[in-house]
Amino acid sequence: MKYIDHNIPEEILNIPAEQFELVERENIKDEKFKTEPIGFFKDAMRRMGKSKPTMISLYIIVAIIIAALIVPLFTGYKYDEQNVSFKNLPPKIPGIEKLGIADGSRVLTNRKASSLEDPDRFPEGCIIEIVNEYEYKGTPVVDVKVDYYKYLGVPEDQYHWFGTDYLGRDLMTRLFRGTRISLLIAFFSVITNVIIGVIYGAISGYYGGKVDMLMTHFAEVLDGLPYIVMTILFMILLGPGMFSIILALCVTGWIGTSRLIRAQFYRFKGREYVLAARTLGVKDITLIFRHILPNTVGPLITRAMIAIPGAIFSESFLAYIGLGISPPEPSIGILLADGQNVLLQYPNQTLFPAILISLLMIAFNLFANGLRDALDPSQRGEE
């Protein structure tokens, strides 16, 4: 681009005259769209697909859910199959046992050196190495690392990947079955909370005024009651079990959702497009469900996603204080509570449920964050 003074350069002066004809056009129309129409959710999914952490956490969540569904079917054990003689077995995984990890070995401490020779107490071939030798009151004592499976006489082809618990139940089966139950409890309590919260918040936010005041005060009073006491009372009233845990998690769990929905309704009900629909004679119920609610879906899904690990954690916490579901049914919380009793002797019984619950919580939180960003309408069409 250049400035030209009164001496117009040759190459510009020499442009053929026919180039300077006026272009005749009838009507100048709006530009045609060059892009494909794209719906809101499609657009959100496309943006979500671009975020690595979100996708990784989504894969983790899906993997855990699949595992929770099928692993208990393939371990070959039942979650309530007891075998007291094989209790507290360490992890033993075929394949990597030769690497020295998860090989079913355990160090036994303070054994009389002489007893090592006794095949009744130490079956042949079970001793791997002697870790430590010392004397106690004149008697030689040893710490000895043994193949615990051989030591207890577990059949050669029997593997417990995560070990067994204090009743000899396979931990892997119990962990994934427990995950299934924890997830079920979480999903159901969150869905119930969302439904109650949406309806309550929508009514309270849409109508406003006195209705809103009364409903908000009721929620506040409920929220003010001590959560644990409420839950315990509930559990005593209904007896232990999955249903009562779900109910217990719903006593106050919906309040947050309803507040969120109420705030969103306050934000959106004065929007011009809602007013426009009102002037067209659109009914209240249509306004709520077609015009306002869809705009709250983003924050709502995000909140629900964050609530799921919260519910899992609450369930674990209840189990921990002895208010879990009834045995022998496992849940992550119950496994953690059981494992915690023997944390120092058999850390594997706490470790695996702890890893799983951490994974679940991190994955759900990351996924929720990714969803929030993807569903944020202000970021539409951006990278």
């Binding site: 892009t35 011009e272 426009a276 002037t279 067209l280 004679g281």
Partner: protein
């Protein structure tokens, strides 16, 4: 004077907003004792600065807000009474509204076809094909094409969105349109498109329009008569040329003197007039009322001010 036939009559309309309770109770008189009337097929402009109550007036007429006091009469029927299903139906059949913000006024989760067709669906039209046909015709009228119908609002430019808003209001064939700042959020070059479109539709459909805006140039261009609002009150009503040529109320004068013109010569020498209600009026002894100073020219003034105004216009008492 013979009783004139008006399509819309607004009589002493008040809309107050209250907040707080007891001692802290605060009442904002957003619209305070406003009266005006609109003739059939006329465009009445309502002009004023932000917070003067012009938007509230429009929204109260179409019953997005309930009036605190006063009456609104549409074609001989009072529409300010208690809201019934039947009244809502009457209102939506007769009056439609165009909103200011081209982004905010379209639901981001609905396609253009759903947005424009909603008014028809609400009226009990079941046949999807027929709705689609009517939507397409309406889109064509506002200069959009069928191709646009399946798109979402965010894909459109501001002017296009505003045209969608106009299509939505027009498709139900209302007798009156309340246009609340329909162009103020648009770019200059697009404003003219929308104004021209409204003008064409007005003529084609014989519409009556209540045109609400803060830009006096636009209001004057578009309207037959203009009402100037200041802090919830209507201070002067006149036809456009009279208002421009012989403004009476000091606020109207201040407003006119503040409008920038695309003329560097006059702009550099422009004399602006300030308006200060405390200074410009003395209402300690006389109460101001809305008076018709000359035919079709109303001013909110006290008797002594009226005398002065008449003198100014050269009218004998």
């Amino acid at each position: 004077m013979a009783e004139e036939k008006y399509l819309l009559e607004v009589k002493n309309l008040c809309r107050h907003f209250t907040s707080g309770k007891g001692k802290n109770k605060l009442t904002v008189k957003a619209v305070d004792d406003v009266s005006f009337a609109v003739r059939p097929a006329e465009t009445f402009g309502l002009v004023g600065e932000s917070g003067c109550g012009k938007t509230t007036t429009g929204r109260t007429i179409i019953r997005l807000y309930d009036p605190t006091d006063g009456k609104v009469i549409f074609d001989g029927r009072e529409i300010s009474g208690p809201m019934t299903k039947e009244l809502r139906q009457y209102l939506t059949d007769n009056i439609a509204m165009i909103f200011q913000d081209p982004i905010e006024s379209l639901n981001p989760r609905m396609t253009i076809e759903e947005i424009v067709g909603e008014g028809l669906a609400v009226r009990g039209m079941k046949d999807k094909e027929e709705i689609r046909k009517m939507v397409h015709e309406m889109l064509e009228k506002v200069g959009l094409t069928e191709e646009h119908a399946t798109r979402y609002p965010h894909e459109f430019s501001g002017g296009q969105r505003q045209r969608v808003g106009i299509a939505r209001a027009m498709i139900v064939k209302p007798r009156m349109i309340i246009a609340d700042e329909p162009v103020s959020a648009l770019d200059v070059s697009i404003q003219a498109q929308v104004i021209n479109l409204l003008n064409d539709l007005k003529e084609e459909m014989g519409l009556t329009i209540l045109f609400i805006a803060h830009n006096l140039s636009v209001v004057k261009y578009f309207s037959d008569r203009i009402g100037v609002m200041y802090y919830g009150r209507l201070v002067e009503v006149a036809n456009g040329d009279d208002l421009y040529a012989k403004p009476l109320h000091p606020y109207t004068k201040a407003l006119l003197s503040a409008i920038p013109e695309p003329n560097p010569i006059t702009e550099r020498t422009r004399q602006r007039v300030d308006y200060d209600p405390e200074r410009d009026h003395d209402y300690s002894e006389e109460q101001p009322t809305m008076v018709e100073v000359e035919p079709d020219h109303f001013v909110y003034c006290s008797p002594s001010e009226l005398k002065a105004y008449r003198k100014q216009l050269g009218i004998a008492d």
